[in-house]
Symmetry: C2
Subunit: 356 residues, 2 copies
């Protein structure tokens, strides 16, 4: 027949710890989905990360970001190693990619799937379904600050959070857009009562941008109250927009109340067509289970689904996402230990393959 | 007999919203406990807060802090008003008192009491019992920063977090002290992987101070992981030490997983004998229930118990604390709506009085 194949250039950084294990196990599944939908992945694998660092003294080559900047998309496994401080590994790989490729939207869906038990008593399948739009390039993660008078009594460290109009407007606008496509409710999270310089600015931007979205209901909530309310009334959240740090904390709570860090996917998105986005499971490198063959691959699979959706391949994306939801809803399907099962990574992927 | 009465000078700031209601309802109880233990309170009431602000243009008189600085202790009800921005009300009253009286320890116990249901499925009475030592005078709440180029495309806001050696060492040391008096485990919370200027400094101070406390087990945890772990494994926490912002977020999670914001007490402590500490319920002014007579007074009662303990009046403190635990454990005792009952503030206080 006249089907043509669309080929996507993917940069793959398996990274540290369980990163390579989950990525390698899941690749055949991704290729199978591609086949089914007339797609192909041209994958360039980058063995960057802490092993690389221990040999080369840097987490990736100096021109690493520009080497991957022409891809259609980027996939990252995990970064972090018990023997190297996190601020070295993260500032050497994950954070520079997010920043230099200006992936200013960190999109993190939080869904309580059928078959998954929430630690919250009152919540069952379908009760939790919100998405966090986290600012991903500035805010409290800005590399601005310093430390003086080392070791002296008046030693002082300063860490400055930076909020620009462009940086704030664009994440707020992306969240409003998302709200128009979902239930029309946006929660903007700040700490304006204590951080009057940055957060009042954020509030002002939200007030400005909301003029463009008259149909969206806006709730302004403090970060401490939000953390509480994600436990007290998670069903009421729809789209949440937050700064880099607040988004980081709230999405970990989101992962936990929806059952497992092993299920939480994420995208670091630059909506421009010329610059690739990067997808990654929210979980870290999990050094404690490396080599055991039991790492949960589902966050990786869901993240790849987000990658496909971002490429415009919605049906392929849905195929992967649906395979995961089917598997979770099936009480007899294999599960990794973090979900209460005793299956290994491979068995979970094989089972997904059979559900495509 | 030869009993003498010890009189304590207490500055009382009922504040906004439900603050006056819970404080006024509970005062007879506090006087009764005092009587029982040969104590008396000489209470100076300050009608500062948002009503005052709406008349006078400031939350308290300009010399407000110095007027209360000679007290033995300070009690605050709540601050915050729907018609005035939080950064005005808080920066006008609560935060300047904490800072100017150098109340550098914010101590917040989190206990799951018998009779209280946690929203976490697996947790019952006694399973959660930790205390947060939150830095209370600097960090992310420092009033350093600004905003430039208003309304222009390159508008920028900066908010700087300030960590001094003195400020960090003393809260860390206070937490280590607490750990030696409890189970000997200290969790130090940072975000060193993303905030390399401030948080690596914090980590270094923890490493220095721990040399003085060889018996304490120290765990270093990232704030996002801590938020998650307070849902996943709250029973494993004992003493938690965190910066101002992180402590704020984590104690709201702590209040929520132990059943209700209406039960969470706190102390803003300056350990010096010459400067008063300030005690306050963690909950806010709750404008939605003002005037309904159903505000939960228990966080206020527990906070007053902390005030007594801080004054060295341990048996009187225990009497109040025990009255609360007895009431909560008694299924037929009155409860306010936030705890699933239909009793009012007064009925709860009267019942406590009968349990003294
Ligand atoms: C590893 C760390 C720097 C990172 C972050 O804080 O952004 C992670 O926690 C995440 O949420 O992606
Ligand atoms: C009201 C607010 C400024 C305050 C804080 O953030 O410290 C409150 O949330 C608290 O925890 O005491």
């Amino acid at each position: 027949d006249d089907q043509t194949t669309t080929t996507y250039d993917i940069e793959l950084i398996p990274g540290d710890g369980i990163g390579p294990a989950v990525v390698d196990a899941a690749l055949p599944l991704f290729r199978a989905v591609a086949d089914d939908h007339g797609l192909a992945f041209d994958i360039t694998r980058r063995d960057w990360g802490t092993e690389y660092y221990l040999e080369q003294g840097e987490m990736m080559p100096e021109d690493g970001v520009s080497r991957i900047a022409d891809a259609d998309s980027i996939f990252l496994g995990a970064v972090g190693h018990p023997e190297v401080p996190d601020h070295v590994t993260l500032h050497g790989l994950l954070l520079p990619i997010r920043k230099e490729l200006d992936q200013y939207i960190c999109k993190r869906p939080n869904v309580l799937f059928e078959g998954i038990e929430s630690p919250l008593q009152e919540y069952g399948a379908g009760d939790i379904d919100f998405v966090v739009y986290r600012e991903n390039t500035e805010g409290e993660y800005a590399d601005i600050g310093g430390r003086e008078h080392r070791g002296l009594d008046h030693e002082t460290a300063v860490q400055s959070a930076l909020f620009t109009r462009e940086g704030t407007e664009r994440i707020v606008r992306a969240a409003f857009e998302a709200a128009t496509e979902r239930d029309g409710t946006l929660t903007s999270v700040t700490k304006s009562n204590a951080q009057a310089h940055s957060m009042v600015f954020w509030d002002d931007i939200v007030e400005e941008v909301r003029e463009e979205y008259p149909t969206v209901t806006v709730e302004r909530l403090l970060v401490d109250a939000t953390a509480m309310d994600l436990i007290r009334r998670p069903h009421e959240f729809d789209v949440v927009v937050a700064s880099n740090l607040f988004g980081d904390i709230l999405t970990d709570i989101g992962a936990q109340i929806t059952g497992s860090m092993g299920l939480a996917p994420s995208g670091n998105i630059n909506p421009s067509d010329d610059i690739p986005s990067m997808f990654e499971p929210v979980h870290g490198s999990a050094p404690d289970i490396v080599g055991d063959g039991v790492a949960n691959p589902l966050a990786t699979v869901l993240s790849w689904s987000m990658l496909l959706e971002d490429l415009g391949e919605k049906t392929a994306a849905d195929a992967l996402w649906d395979a995961v939801t089917n598997q979770l809803a099936d009480g007899s399907a294999p599960r990794t230990p973090d979900l209460g099962g005793d299956a290994g990574t491979e068995a979970v992927v094989d089972d997904l393959q059979s559900r495509l």
